[in-house]
């Protein structure tokens, strides 16, 4: 099924960039000569989405747009941008949709908060439930009497 989607993405990419046969994602001519900068560019590329694809990062994508974005990322890094500045530059042009890792902001609070809240709530519930079960009420005097009669009857 993923393959089908992939094919659709590929088809979309083909339609958008007429006559282009899929190349490999990162091409040698895009790469920066400085290996440290290139490594930073690769890390950033994995956090940016190819806008015409289905959930693919520009590092994985064959589409021309992804190629343009990869070149843009490297261009920003070459100009001395920090990672944050480079990302901000691209988000300013392409919108938040381009980020594969959504920002930590109020709108995404439910997204980032879910695992922590659920884990805490579940953990507290477990502990509380266990306490409640462990602290079962002591026997009433009638129950004690009944127990005594049963125990004495056994002798």
């Amino acid at each position: 099924m993923r393959q089908a989607l992939q094919a659709i993405c590929l088809a979309a990419a083909l339609v958008l960039s007429v006559g282009v046969v899929p190349a490999l994602a990162v091409r040698p001519d895009e790469m920066l000569s400085n290996p440290a900068l290139e490594a930073r560019a690769r890390v950033l590329s994995r956090e940016l989405r190819c806008l015409v694809c289905q959930n693919e990062s520009i590092d994985d994508s064959n589409a021309d747009l992804a190629h343009d974005l990869r070149v843009l990322v490297r261009d920003r890094i070459k100009r001395g941008d920090t990672d944050q500045q480079a990302l901000a530059y691209i988000v300013a042009r392409y919108g938040e949709f381009v980020l594969l890792k959504p920002r930590f902001d109020l709108r995404n609070a439910a997204l980032w908060g879910t695992p922590i809240v659920l884990l805490l709530a579940g953990g507290l519930f477990m502990l509380f439930g266990a306490r409640r079960r462990a602290a079962s009420p002591p026997l009433s005097s009638e129950e004690k009497k009944e127990l005594d009669t049963i125990l004495s009857g056994r002798d």
């Binding site: 993923r2 040698p28 289905q54 594969l100 659920l118």
Partner: protein, 662 residues
């Protein structure tokens, strides 16, 4: 034949309606004749669906292009195997496969459920009937695979070339067996809620069926992952794609269900929770079907342009998930929860497992649906991709994996964590040592990799420790230990294997993500590239011809860094003229558990070929781990106490013995 198939499908729908209504009416009114309708109806429903499916496969094999579905997805020159697998390589056909498997499971309950209480069996079959009827109606009204095309075209449009692979023969059927297999535990859960009680038969039944579904789903997911790895040409094995998440959520919930069903079977505790998980797991399966089949994933707007299918599945989804949760809210109070336990106990460990797995499933769910929610509410679009899931899912898994070896060491009811820790000390020390060795001798900067490999070793050794301690290897004479080992319940081996499989998969993932070597260069024939100590000598491109494609193959000689020849790798680019589609066929060469992976790009401006080569150390462990998990599930499935037929046979034998003296 095509009309026969269509007719059989309509009849199957009618039969599903009978199955939905009659047995449960019998169960509610106590009429045994009505209850007895359930089993033959379920079997007839399966046979009719099978006939319908066979008709569609026949149309594909015969390349009957007067059927729209065949015309859209087949070609006369396609190899036979891809003609057959093309049957479910499209929306309509895959939905037919879905109901075929659903009715198969229904008929299995009908056949093997002789020792179930009749009213429970009748109710379960009716619930299965409801699901079946809904999906038959969906197929017949919005996704009919038997629609004709007049005049019939001479040639078909061919199956999508990316799908022309053995992967399509294995991946979807296994995945659907898993997805739909969870419908059994769902039906049992709903039946228990309707009946208002859960007895011993319920727990005995639910666990093996869950185990079977889990086995198939595990296989389906790892097979799909391997397929994506070798077919898509960039060597990734998991993409956190919404479609993958759709299959991963039922897996996580199903794994939780497997463990809580264990508590319920052995200690009759966690009944209400197990029921809830059974409902949740199948809800995730239905949600996955909706996400994949409605087109909602590309965009809420894409969904809105052709909403008929999506809205239909959304209705099914709301009806079944909403209905079952409402039923749960109304009736779960009627169920008596039993079996007290101390937090430090086997039960406690399994509850902890459930906490982490369900939180992980919820995280994947929120991550998958959040962009849709944001888009629907604010018209903004955001993306949630791999970096999010890596940041949230991995921290959730680490504590769980650390706790895994403790689970089987703790006693039921009240365990001793300190004693378990003592018994696991050797395993822990070895795992630590392995981690340190990785840090010292492999890569001094790879702290995370060392931790990951240590964790994998901890899982593997922890599982082995359990077997060693139970058989008493080292503390009793060898022959006694061997006898004990052989005599251990199969489920103990199942647990150990499944946990070891997890360790193997983890080892593969950590090794590939941290130690893989990558090289992207433009090569002219005669030039070399070096990746992780392997030299690839590019001989040049050769043209080739397949049954329905042309290809150009890049041939590489592999040499070790010393110059010794290690064979060849052929990586190719194919072109399918019928669809005008190019594909890449990665060249893969396996060395032990590691692989060299070569993928071709386009010639660059100077005419040199762009080549991307990876060294993927221990990559095969990712999927072998999945296979070992499946083996674990299969071993557990053959455990004596889970063979559902076994007790009844014994009882019959006993009653015969009792009769014989008289």
């Amino acid at each position: 034949m095509v009309e026969t198939g269509h007719f059989a499908l309509v009849l199957a729908f009618a039969m599903a309606l009978v199955q939905s209504v009659v047995p449960i009416t019998g169960a509610r009114t106590g009429d045994e004749r009505l209850m007895a309708v359930g089993a033959p109806a379920a079997i007839a429903c399966f046979l009719l669906t099978a006939l319908s499916f066979a008709a569609l496969v026949t149309a594909y094999v015969q390349s009957d292009f007067s059927v729209v579905n065949v015309w859209e997805n087949s070609h006369s020159l396609q190899p036979l195997i891809y003609k057959i697998t093309g049957t479910w390589g499209n929306h309509e056909g895959s939905m037919l496969l879905w109901v075929l498997i659903l009715t198969l499971f229904g008929s299995l309950v009908a056949l093997f459920g002789r020792n179930l209480p009749p009213s429970l069996k009748a109710t379960v079959l009716s619930v299965q009937g409801w699901i079946g009827a809904a999906f038959f109606l969906f197929i017949l009204t919005t996704s009919n695979p038997f629609t004709r095309l007049i005049p019939a075209p001479i040639e078909g449009r061919e199956l999508n070339p990316i799908l022309q692979d053995m992967g399509l023969a294995v991946h979807p059927p296994l995945l659907y067996l898993g997805y739909v297999g969870f419908s059994i535990s769902f039906s049992f859960a709903v039946a228990a809620l309707i009946e208002g009680r859960i007895d011993a038969a319920w727990a005995r039944w639910v666990r093996p069926w869950t185990l079977l579904a889990w086995l198939c789903l595990t296989g389906g997911i790892s097979m799909g992952s391997y397929w994506a790895y070798y077919e898509l040409g960039w060597g990734g094995f998991w993409f956190w794609d919404p479609v993958e998440n759709a299959s991963f959520m039922p897996w996580l919930a199903g794994t939780a269900l497997l463990h809580s069903a264990l508590v319920m079977e052995k200690r009759s505790a966690l009944k209400i929770w197990t029921i809830l998980l059974a409902i949740l797991t199948f809800s995730f399966s239905l949600l996955g079907t909706f996400l994949v089949r409605s087109g909602v994933l590309t965009s809420v707007h894409a969904f809105a342009t052709d909403p008929s299918r999506g809205i239909f599945i959304l209705c099914i989804l709301t009806l079944f998930i909403g209905g079952s949760f409402a039923l749960f809210a109304l009736r779960s109070n009627a169920l008596v929860s039993g079996g007290l336990f101390h937090p430090i106990s086997r039960e406690g460990a399994l509850v902890l497992n459930n906490l982490f797995l369900t939180t992980a499933a919820a995280t994947v769910l929120v991550g998958t649906l959040y962009p849709l929610a944001v888009e629907a509410l604010s018209k903004d679009r955001i993306s949630v991709g791999a970096p999010f899931f890596e940041l949230t899912f991995v921290p959730l898994m680490v504590p769980l994996l650390l706790a895994v070896p403790f689970g089987p060491m703790l006693a039921w009811k009240r365990g001793d964590l300190y004693a378990a820790g003592q018994r696991l000390f050797a395993a822990f020390a070895c795992a630590l040592l392995i981690g340190i060795c990785v840090l010292l001798f492999v890569d001094r900067t790879a702290v995370l990799a060392a931790c990951g490999i240590g964790l994998a070793a901890w899982l593997l050794l922890g599982a082995l420790t359990d077997l060693v301690l139970r058989s008493g290897i080292g503390s009793v004479p060898a022959y006694v230990a061997w006898r004990r080992l052989v005599g251990l319940p199969r489920s103990v081996f199942g647990t150990a294997l499944a946990h070891m499989g997890l360790g193997l998969t983890l080892l593969g993932i950590v090794s590939v993500t941290t130690f893989q070597g990558e090289k992207i260069v433009a090569l002219n024939p005669g030039e070399n590239l070096t990746v992780s100590g392997y030299v690839l000598h590019f001989e040049g491109m050769k043209a080739g011809q397949g049954p329905n494609f042309t290809e150009s193959r890049g041939v590489f000689d592999i040499m070790s860094s010393g110059g010794a020849s290690l064979g060849k790798i052929v990586s190719s680019k194919r072109f399918f003229p019928a669809r005008q589609t190019p594909t890449t066929e990665a060249g893969i060469r396996t060395f032990g558990l590691s692989q060299l992976y070569v993928s071709l790009g386009d010639p660059d401006a100077s005419g040199a070929m762009v080549v991307r080569a990876w060294w993927k150390p221990l990559v095969l462990l990712i999927w072998l781990g999945g296979v070992v998990m499946m083996l674990g599930a299969a071993t557990s499935l053959f455990d004596r106490r889970l063979r559902v037929g076994a007790p009844s046979r014994r009882r019959k034998a006993a009653s015969k013995l009792a009769e014989s003296p008289s």
